[in-house]
């Protein structure tokens, strides 16, 4: 595209983000401040993820963008088109052929492989922010690995509800050192964070933080011995592809209370439907 640098960002900004990314990989789970730029889309639409993607993207990459698992929502389509125009990269919706996957709030159902990069869009990078309003204080708590407050929050949940009431953005410990927000992915996806062969990068544009989980790194969802971490999903099979293990969206279909459950991962669902059709 004329008038813009490759992948939109200027080179000095990319270098700044790249240096932050390398340190993020060297210190798994630690949030690194960076000079987040104003992007041609509003905060909350993936400005952090877009900047991380722009800094790692090359002309040979194949980019996939998902929004809550879907390739065909406004956010996913516009970010995909943004990079197709500013970087000329190939964009695909198949999880297996993508080298970089930018995601808003889901991890694809299909297992990722070594060499793939998963870029998360993060609204609130600090899991302690909801418990302690002072950033100076939470920085100190991360520095000292002082995470008692989060355990108290989980404990209070258990005393009040009988279980931990966090269903998304479930806090995790990375490499046994840093408490980290996995971004608002459903707790269902948390187990996929751990020992994932893909490199996972996180960008928070408004909050100006970058962090990462290197491949094969231990990530543990916080829990207690007598209240182990559990994932939940709607107790249904997908109404389109029949998968009874994938993460489901509930879709209201009419005004008479009609509803259906469908896979939140559209690529996963479409591949399964195509397989079923081919078999018939």
């Amino acid at each position: 595209m004329n008038g813009y640098n490759f992948a939109y960002l200027d080179e000095q900004t990319k270098r700044m983000i790249r240096r932050a990314l390398l340190k993020a990989v060297a210190i798994p789970g630690h949030q690194i401040p960076f000079g987040s730029r104003e992007m041609p889309l509003p905060y909350g639409w993936g400005t952090g993820g877009i900047q991380v993607t722009a800094a790692v993207l090359g002309p040979d990459d194949v980019l996939k963008v998902i929004d809550q698992g879907a390739d065909d929502t406004t956010n996913a389509v516009s970010i995909r088109r943004f990079f197709a125009r500013t970087a000329g990269v190939a964009t695909k919706t198949h999880t297996s052929v993508a080298t970089i996957i930018q995601t808003r709030h889901r991890i694809p159902e299909q297992a990722l492989t070594e060499g793939q990069i998963l870029v998360y869009q993060v609204p609130m990078p600090d899991p302690l922010a909801k418990l302690e309003p002072s950033r100076a204080e939470t920085t100190r708590m991360h520095g000292l690995a002082e995470y008692g407050l989060m355990h108290v929050k989980l404990y209070e949940d258990i005393t009040r509800f009988g279980h931990v009431s966090i269903s998304y953005d479930y806090p995790v410990m990375v490499n046994d050192r840093y408490l980290m927000s996995p971004s608002p992915i459903p707790a269902y996806d948390n187990p996929k964070l751990s020992r994932n062969p893909a490199l996972q990068l996180f960008g928070a544009g408004r909050e100006k933080r970058i962090y990462a989980i290197p491949p094969h790194t231990e990530v543990r969802s916080l829990d207690f011995d007598d209240h182990p971490f559990r994932t939940t999903r709607a107790p249904h099979a997908c109404d389109l592809c029949g998968d009874d293990a994938s993460y489901l969206d509930e879709v209201v279909t009419d005004n008479q209370g009609g509803r259906m459950f469908v896979c939140s991962d559209t690529d996963h669902c479409a591949s399964r439907q195509a397989l079923k059709e081919a078999a018939e």
Partner: protein
């Protein structure tokens, strides 16, 4: 003088490729990746070290070049706009011999990312003294061989790793190949 040597033939994509190689190396410690092929590097730097510098260094960071690497100072300043500084203040250390890691910026508990990155040129990667490495980025402990590190490197590294998350990260370069040792890594000699 090495001012007449060019940087990347394509500054944008050259830097992107070099960065991806370093990112690959940093996220898979010990993996040897190719970088800076075809880049004409200033003496005494190898093309991998030169590519790292061109991809990561600019006027926002400060670099320390050791007694040998300082021969490329003009090239460094010309292509990156960086300023040279003392060992303790450096964001990046460009070296042909392992500097005293305890004398480098290691960041603080609150901001460990301020720890220095050492771009160290070694004699050879994949040959020489053998180490076992384990940590984030590795599914199982891996073997790693490098020629050109001091005798007691395992001990020096243990001291660096012990203060995690503070510490320095090492990028080892030889010819057009490099490997990275992030501070999160545990290393022992075999």
């Amino acid at each position: 003088m090495s001012l007449d040597l060019p940087g990347f033939a394509d500054p944008v994509l050259g830097a992107q490729r070099a960065f991806r190689a370093v990112l690959d190396a940093m996220s898979h410690p010990g993996r040897i990746v190719r970088v800076g092929e075809g880049l004409v590097s200033p003496a005494p730097l190898c093309s991998a070290a030169a590519a790292c510098v061109l991809a990561l260094v600019d006027q926002d960071v400060r670099v320390h070049a050791d007694a040998e690497a300082v021969a490329a100072a003009d090239w460094l300043r010309f292509h990156t706009g960086t300023t040279l500084c003392g060992l303790a203040e450096a964001d990046f250390v460009l070296a042909l011999a392992l500097p005293d890691l305890a004398g480098l910026a290691a960041g603080s508990d609150d901001a460990p990312e301020l720890g220095a990155s050492v771009i160290l040129q070694v004699a050879a990667l994949g040959a020489g003294r053998r180490f076992m490495i384990e940590g984030p980025g590795l599914a199982v402990p891996a073997a790693f061989a490098v020629d050109g590190l001091p005798e007691d490197f395992a001990g020096i590294w243990a001291a660096n790793h012990r203060r995690f998350p503070r510490g320095v990260d090492l990028i080892l370069c030889a010819g057009d190949r490099l490997a990275a040792l992030p501070r999160s890594l545990r290393i022992r000699e075999v």
